[in-house]
Symmetry: D2
């Protein structure tokens, strides 16, 4: 039993930069109806500000093409048919693109290396002038279509994880810096107030950050923000033909890394630059079943609670299992990154985000298992979690909270996910893991993806309320304490005991 | 512990005449958006065939009007603007009107007596010729608009509860028979295959049935079906300015009455006539809180299970709390008849109907607490209930079922309402009974109106499955046993124990 | 042929106070789906800021009720079930109520006089203390539900046309002033920044304005704005059992009246008060067929063009034929006020408003037949009209415009309503005036309610463009001149003459 | 002036097999929202029974995959994630797949030849056993998901245009027959009543038909229907980097071909086989601007009118410009096959289909410019057209029809497309051919894509009605003659002349 006594005075502001940005499968997927349906669900409930994904310049969207004229000469052709449709969709859903320039259009590629089942080309341009022209054409078109005022709000990030050979040929740092500088200049040449940044590296290569900022300083390359990714998974323990298993580090690891990098930036020539984590998750594998579990939610709860101390934003990778990096999904649950599984089924981590979205901006208390906040209307909203990476049953934790509440009568609403609730992955296992479930099975999975919801009526005492909670293995709960304005006395002569089977309250 | 062993062979067919018809507030309310929204919810989930309500000829719909000509003479005018809009809505929602002729248009009324806060006039026509013309005009218009083939499926019922003085002036039986005969002839004169019936009496006056059929026989009045109402409530114990409390009879009372009346019809000159219960519920009061409770669902479960043995249909009164017989509803919960409360919140009895809608057509077993059915695909669907009219806690019942299942692996899905689940009335009490809840409160009430849903994976043994259930006070549950086609073995090398915190199943 | 040469420089700002407010049938109708459907159409296309109608306190919404206690005493009960639903709908559609307090709840009425087929009681309160309490309860509830910041934007107008005996018993001016003062104080006692005004008189009684403002000055009654109505119809020439025919005054009459009243206010003790026309139309009769005609649009075009010079707003009466002042509508077209006829069919005057909604805020030229504006993007938008009150055919007018355009290539789009286009009333006559049209007929009427649309490609010359228009009888047209960015040259080798039957452009 | 006198007696039945089937871009595109939006528009208005497209087995849908096991062995994996989503969509929209087996999954391909920008592999399987297994797996899965009763209605066609080298390696006939037989047997081995056919050839190779049927006879290959394509375009006259221009043959050419092939089948060992044209259009190029023109509609009108005499169905290629055979569309109008252009804009040919959808089943008269039909309710529906392949203006045709009508008062509704109406391609040219139009431009194009609609009131004389029409260049019109039930006399005292500016009718 852990006892926590919470003061009336807020200890800090709780910022909502956990919802600044969300990751997506390659942008070309945004033409699909199921993708749009999922994004709509997310936006109506949580409403992220930005969305970031690969593939803006990939050949399925087809922006870069070349036309051969009668005289045999070739001229570039910029085709915005699909990207306009995609960004129009984003605008309608109230989410802005966090632009990532990449990967290389086939016609501009210097060689054949590709990444992912969808063959994103990861090589430098074969002609940097054409690349410069492409960047200018693209950015100019966005301004023409959406207006300068709008596009000034779009960050432009150059490439993705150039420190890894599978994302950038030979992980050639000098070549990346070259690409960066030319791209950044191309953007700024369109309008000097546009925001550009990098180096979008993966974890494990933070010397790139220092080198990158030094490069920008020395070579006068424009830079408006720094970006990096973070994942908590160790190397694969086992890879089957369709699944990948990994261990996870402790969930403080990511926080430590953020702090370290933030300090690196502070010590750089650009100490005031914003720092964005443009991808994070437990595992970096799109076929790791951990993403489908309550553990994933319980693991990341502390990240949502604390990462905002160090970074300007951190972007969960990704909102939906509409995703193809390792081929078309082969089953209803397949370890995808998504907050929403195929067929519109909420995963546990979806609810983690939905719960955090109900928190207030005054932080009353924070520790490794909870975050207690107050909302503008004086009501209290608490996130609670119990990460258990050990196997087996049990592991309940008990808490007793002594809270300040500014009202007498309290309506308590608790929403819970854990191993037994809002765990459609488990129900799906009970069903025999149907790869392609029929409508009835999908309907059941949707039903079972809802949190357990409990309510109660409580009374505070001298402005204090004592609450006890038992938190089960990998539970994440949202508890809301809402003022009650009791109107019972306005029902003259009301008496529930006159109803058969009921008693006076 | 009650043990039930169920045979492979079906004991009977289970008919779905419990969903033949549903009651509605006066038809004029069907212009309202909230009414239509509720009906749409009901139709998408349950899909009743017919809908019956008062007020077809009431002045708010305004079918009967008179125009004064320049020479001072007066001619009838039939205005179908609103009734067309209403019936168009019904047709779009796939539900047909079960027509009730009434009440009296003011201009045709012989005196001023009215019923309900909306002042339905309950007096005989001041001119039976004009009444005959009105009936003909109305029926002819329906045929013109919807086609003869369609309207031949609409039953035409004459008036409502003429045996009660508040619904028919002086409860004058002879006058009713006169009205009946003229109306029936007016209908048949439009087309002889149209279906007409009565006498639409309340309970407690079953001699009217005999008298009515004798009258039809003796006076050659056309009659195609017999109608009656049934309610299980005793006289009011207490009436406050906005609520009415009553005791309920045993829930076999209604079944006994049905049997008796069916036998009366069998013994009449028209032994083969269909018999429709065109209204029923626990209480006949639209402000009795019992309608909002789980008790109401548990009470009526047996009715849904067994009443179809005696009658051709029985029509729950009513689908929605959009209803005005005792004035505009004064609070979110106010004891209304509706399956759906204001603001689109499901009441417990809604789920009773929704659960029955999942039952199969083969009845394997039936008793006072359950109905076990098999569906076409071989799956089993069981309704369970535990009516407790005593006050206080406890009263759980335990059952052990030994069932035939034609498959090895079983997915069990159980959906439950009881005092603690899908009881938004109780949550509303915790909130302080807000009369006019805000959007946040409505959202919580909607969330809390969902059944508890539990799933499990079971294995049958030699074609038999043993299940144990504990049923709480006023619980109604639907249990589905669905064949599993286990695909786990198609996932090569799958091993959940490689996920942190999980074990091999 | 009239020649108009238009200068580059704007002569004035064109204000959009013609869309500040729109009238509605009594608020109780806002529960109906068809009403809401029409309002949604209007808001999506035109988007009015406010909506004003009668009946806030009428008994169908039922705000004021009384409960009789066991001891026989009576207490007021304020029922917000319906008004909350109505105002929630308005808020969702982005339109605010322009509150009109009235008519008198039956239980507060001092006698039986009523107006309209829906029996609005037009008598003073039987108890001014109860009235004061009612106003306070209502306003306080709005603030509780929608927030103070929101409700501070809602004007509160006291009563409707108290200068007419059918709207206020005996048209008793002193009694109205009493009502006004008590109501205004009740509102201000809730919050002093709430806005209250009157006297909401009809035309023809403008001495009330002076008397009203003198009263406010002398009696220290709060007043924040002045309101009045205006209609252009003379007395009825003929009234049939369902239609009313009237002559119309010249369409400058209303403008003259506005100017006169504005000067009266200027000369009053409150010279700076806003002045709102809270109702206007051609005819004040809800069964005058003129409302269904193109004439109605052509007549009011000049009003929309010029009335904003004199008043802060003017509110067209009303947006929809969902309306019941003279009983349920008896036919598809019946002379109703609505911009939208039953079954969602646009009337000509709807398009007048839709056309004005496309005008720019720079007024380049205005006369009795046109209004030429420039929009922010430099494009030109022109409204043209040709009011013809004479019978017969012909009456075309020709115009030649010489316009400044800041671009070379011009895309012209002209949308036209006249006797032969967007005149569903005429098509309905061709159909034989079906009172209750079937779905196919409604579909045709909807099709035929669309404007004639014509486009062309033009070229300007030295920043000037010459255009000729022929305007038919009762035509209203919107002409838009939009800059063209010609991309034809980017299609290498394009040659339409290679398509069978086509030529090079 | 051509005079046509039409008899009361129908000369034939007019069949609606023109709407039996419609073509689509490759099935993988059916995941896209815009594709689904267009199909929904089509189905709501016209409602085709079947839809046929390429790419069922292409790697973007990804049905055929292989998994490598730990021991290095490989096993096939059938992934139905995407095809289930696609066919679920079709089922929801009420359209069934007309299955085309093809193209070859990369892992089953015997070499690298591909077709289209999306690289459909056109080579025989590298292993016919694996192909047989794939076909069985696919068909079995469809039955499992949609039920046998449903899938028995789906035709299974083997491959596409194997007589062309770009669609089938070397256009190897013997290899195709081998593929056909094995595929047909695989289908029949799943269920003998499933329907299978071929050879899906292009025009110009009709000896394949004879050879194919002889093969089936000699080799006992199952065959249930014969399929072929037809296009009316000659070789390209000019090909630009994004457009292709061709001449068209006379529009009787296709009818002649159909007759010839039907006679070939009649003379074959399978004289009773159904004959389906599974693709047709004017041009076979997806970048021929003719598809965007009114000419395309006028050209095909006679095909829709007469082709059903010879074939069981003919399937327009294709419903939508959501299509990628020659890369992502590069402009709003680009010569695509679609009835609906990008952004949901109707092309003229859309209206041709929509007009034919209003025709009756009794054919009263047919010639090269018109088709006169009677509908079940006695109303008359006439399609008229005036194909003009010459350049320039003029070319009007005049017709005088003398028609039988079974009613006195006639409401005439005429809907027209021609060079000046419902020609958004022309408006787009006026706009400067914007490749990626903004929302305002799209809205205007949608407005301008509506037919001209005209109405009139006529009176027949002794059961006959004389009508004159002038038909402009490339006009297609639908004329409907609908009985009027005139209700004017029910409006007592109605007199339009009492409305300012109007006269008594």
């Amino acid at each position: 039993m852990e006892k926590v006594t919470i003061l009336q005075q807020a200890e800090a502001a709780f910022r909502d930069n956990w919802k600044f940005c969300i990751g997506t499968g390659r942008l070309g997927l945004a033409l699909q109806k199921e993708y749009i349906d999922h994004l709509k669900l997310i936006q109506e409930d949580i409403h992220f500000d930005y969305i970031r994904g690969h593939g803006l310049l990939h050949d399925d969207i087809g922006i870069y093409r070349e036309l051969t004229l009668e005289d045999g000469s070739v001229q570039p052709f910029y085709n915005f048919t699909y990207i306009d449709r995609i960004f129009d969709t984003y605008m309608e859903l109230g989410i802005r693109p966090f632009i990532e320039f990449g990967f290389m259009p086939r016609l501009l590629a210097s060689s054949d290396e590709t990444v992912f089942s969808w063959n994103g080309n990861v090589t430098p341009p074969n002609d940097y002038d054409k690349w410069y022209d492409l960047i200018q054409a693209v950015v100019s078109h966005f301004i023409e279509r959406y207006g300068l005022e709008e596009v000034l709000k779009w960050p432009f990030e150059v490439w993705n994880e150039p420190n890894l050979t599978n994302f950038w040929k030979d992980a050639d740092k000098e070549e990346y810096f070259k690409l960066y500088k030319i791209t950044a200049i191309a953007v700024k040449d369109v309008h000097p107030d546009l925001q550009v940044g990098g180096p979008a590296i993966s974890g494990g290569a933070d010397h790139w950050i220092k080198d990158f900022l030094d490069f920008c300083e020395n070579e006068s390359a424009p830079v408006d923000f720094v970006t990096r990714h973070m994942y908590a998974s160790n190397k694969a323990k086992k890879v089957t033909p369709e699944l990948c298993y990994q261990d996870l580090f402790e969930n403080t690891m990511m926080l430590d890394e953020l702090k370290t990098v933030r300090e690196m930036i502070n010590a750089s020539p650009f100490p005031d630059l914003p720092f964005h984590i443009t991808e994070y998750n437990t595992s970096y594998s799109p076929i790791n079943p951990v993403h489908d579990t309550p553990l994933n939610a319980a693991y990341l709860a502390r990240t949502l609670s604390e990462a905002g101390d160090y970074v300007d934003s951190f972007s969960y990778w990704t909102f939906s299992d509409v995703f193809e990096e390792t081929d078309v999904p082969k089953a209803q649950f397949h370890g995808g990154f998504g907050l929403i599984a195929l067929n519109g089924i909420y995963k546990p981590t979806y609810h983690l985000f939905s719960f955090f979205n109900k928190l207030g901006s005054e932080q009353l208390h924070r520790d490794e298992n909870m975050l207690v906040t107050r909302r503008e209307d004086g009501s209290i909203a608490i996130a609670l979690w119990n990460l258990v990476m050990d196997k087996g049953e049990g592991f309940e934790k008990e808490f007793e909270l002594d809270l300040p509440v500014q009202f007498k009568d309290v309506f308590l609403k608790r929403q819970t996910i854990d191993e037994d609730h809002a765990n459609p992955w488990n129900v799906w296992k009970q069903m025999g893991r149907p790869r392609f479930p029929d409508k009835t099975q999908v309907a059941t999975l949707k039903d079972m993806a809802q949190p357990l919801r409990r309510t109660a009526r409580l009374a505070s005492n001298n402005g204090r309320l004592k609450l006890s909670f038992t938190i089960t293995k990998n539970e994440v709960s949202l508890v809301e304490l809402i003022p009650v304005k009791d109107e019972t006395s306005t029902y003259i002569g009301i008496d529930d005991s006159l109803i058969p089977s009921y008693s006076r309250d």
